[in-house]
Amino acid sequence: MNPPLLSVEDLHVSFQTDEGLVEAVRGVSFDLGQGETLGIVGESGSGKSVTNLALMGLIPRPPGRIDRGSAKLAGRDLIQMSQKELMDVRGRRIGMIFQDPMTALNPLMTVGQQLTEVTRRHFGLSRAAAQTRAAEMLEMVGISAPESRLRDYPHQFSGGMRQRVMIAMALSCEPEILIADEPTTALDVTIQAQILELLGDLQRRRGTSIILVTHDLGVVAGICDRVLVMYAGRVVEQATVTELFASPRHPYTLGLLRSLPRLDRDHSLRLEAIPGQPPDMTRVPAGCSFRARCPVALARCADDTPPLREVATGRSSACWHDDARQPAGVASISPDPSPVAGG
């Protein structure tokens, strides 16, 4: 196998808040391969967005801090880089798009000004060359009459069109990695479908690696190759997309999948909700942070934090059950619904 393009190891990020120290990311590790689409799934506060902001060096400091860890992009550690070096990575080697295209573009500058800014900064293009390039990019993301649209301001575009502009901007320097942070959450379903189609298509044509951050398992199933599931600042499961949905290993993943109402299935009377709520990040209990909501928690889950370990080739999970499964045969957590008590 080729060496990964990006290799994140034991990343820790914390924030100083009024309520105390929040350890938003607590030892996240993952690899991103060339041309791969990696989904990072989690609920709000799971640390999925912070992880990516940390890679870009965009954690506001203070109150944020990267306490530990490394993130090697083709061998060079992003975490150790100076702000100056990071400036050459951002927009050039890693492009980023955000959740709300309504607010992510500068309302006071034309779309053309915002698009040309990137290529002029990184490629040193002349105004005219940058303009041509910007028009090409708009055309590529499916915006018609690109030359004239360059003179328009963001408020003259619809939400879906603005997200296309964001994608054009993020890809205009042909970065190796595109980080998409909830790129379709603010959009309507039919527009979401268009944007996901566009991302998938661009990915196939250009071979860009994508990190797709989302809370929507449906989106993940549609376009990702591999998935990380995060909970309370940690990765609890990592698997290929087919494996994850076919046989989730971690009780949290399983719970998430069960609690989803689905369009393609007859609805049973009740959803199997995960009881309780995610821990208060200022007071994360010791041990496994999902313990309080876990239907199959063991005594040792309270004391020892289960590490993320490989449970099969290319697949890992952070649960003591995986440890106990083979030798002791403790209550397994098969995808069969019976052992899980309803919410």
Partner: protein, 309 residues
């Protein structure tokens, strides 16, 4: 562009209407207060007063006066004669005093903007630093201290203790520095605070993060993506600020012995100098309209979402 023309036509229409109202109100007010231009400490013989009244057309019935004066202004731009400054027409008084007051105001504003905006930017970017703290303390003082007190302090400092600038007078650039400083200081303080607040607000917006994610330098992000948005409240403030500076120069003109319009303003009202008072009020009305229109247009230039109404 068509937007702009329409806007200007509307503004001029409103201005004419306002001017007419201002004219009427001040005409009525001036004539309804007790006393007249000739009833001062020195009693004027009745015959002479009659003569004077006839000369200035003040013996005509009030409604005739109202129309005659109004017509004079509309047809010839003639604001009439000053009743107190012998042999000066109001137009002449304005032509002499106004440029002086206006240059003082402009210098004051330039100074206020030049000092206020950079101070606000630095304060916001280095929030919580010593520089931020000291500049914002200075800003609070600048707003709190009345400009005549400030004038006494700077005269003491820069005329007597460190004789760099002349104490008073008009005509050289040197003489302009101290009064312009005193005039601009409170405005600079406001601008600094508005800039700082605006910057801090825009800095939290998501598009600033997008700009960072594009790999722009922090300087480029601040200048291109943060500052324009942060300037919007400052621009709004500049309209009333200009008016304030123009009218507020009154006391400073006295202290620094500057031959501007300030002294006329009070005297004209106190001495019932009907025509001069009227002329000044109308001039300032026009000025305010012009300033506010400039503010509106700049606002629309900075923010494309704003439509000129």
């Amino acid at each position: 562009m068509r937007n702009l023309v329409g806007y200007l036509i509307r503004r001029v229409g409103w201005m004419l209407l306002t001017l007419w109202i201002v004219y009427t109100v001040s005409f009525v007010l001036m004539r309804s207060v007790p006393g007249n231009p000739f009833s001062s400490e020195r009693t004027v013989p009745a015959a002479i007063e009659r003569q004077l009244r006839a000369r200035y057309n003040l013996d005509a019935p009030v409604h005739r006066q109202y129309f005659d004066i109004g017509w004079g202004i509309v047809s010839r731009g003639d604001l009439g004669w000053s009743l107190r400054l012998e042999d000066y027409s109001v137009n002449q008084v304005l032509a002499e005093g106004f440029p002086v007051s206006a240059s003082l105001a402009i210098f004051g504003l330039v100074f206020a903007i030049g000092l206020g905006i950079p101070a606000g930017i630095i304060s916001a970017v280095r929030r919580g630093s010593f520089a931020d703290l000291s500049m914002m303390t200075a800003a609070v003082l600048g707003i709190a201290v009345p400009n005549f007190v400030l004038a006494s302090i700077v005269i003491l400092l820069f005329v007597f203790i460190l004789p760099i600038f002349p104490a008073a007078g008009w005509g050289t650039l040197q003489q302009l520095v101290l009064p312009a400083f005193c005039l601009g200081a409170p405005v600079a303080a406001y601008i600094a605070r508005l800039t700082r607040a605006g910057m801090l607000e825009v800095l939290t917006r998501e598009h600033v993060r997008t700009a960072m994610a594009k790999g722009l330098s922090p300087q480029a992000v601040v200048l291109k993506h943060v500052l324009p948005g942060a300037m919007l409240p400052v621009v709004s403030y500049l309209g009333p600020a200009t008016a304030g500076v123009l009218t507020g120069s009154l006391v400073l003109e006295k202290i620094f012995a500057i031959p501007g319009m300030g002294s006329h303003f009070i005297n004209a009202a106190l001495q019932r100098d009907y025509f001069l008072a009227m002329g000044m009020v109308l001039t300032y009305t026009v000025l305010l309209f012009v300033m506010n229109s400039i503010v509106d247009i700049s606002y629309a230039v900075i923010d494309p979402r704003v439509k000129l109404q």
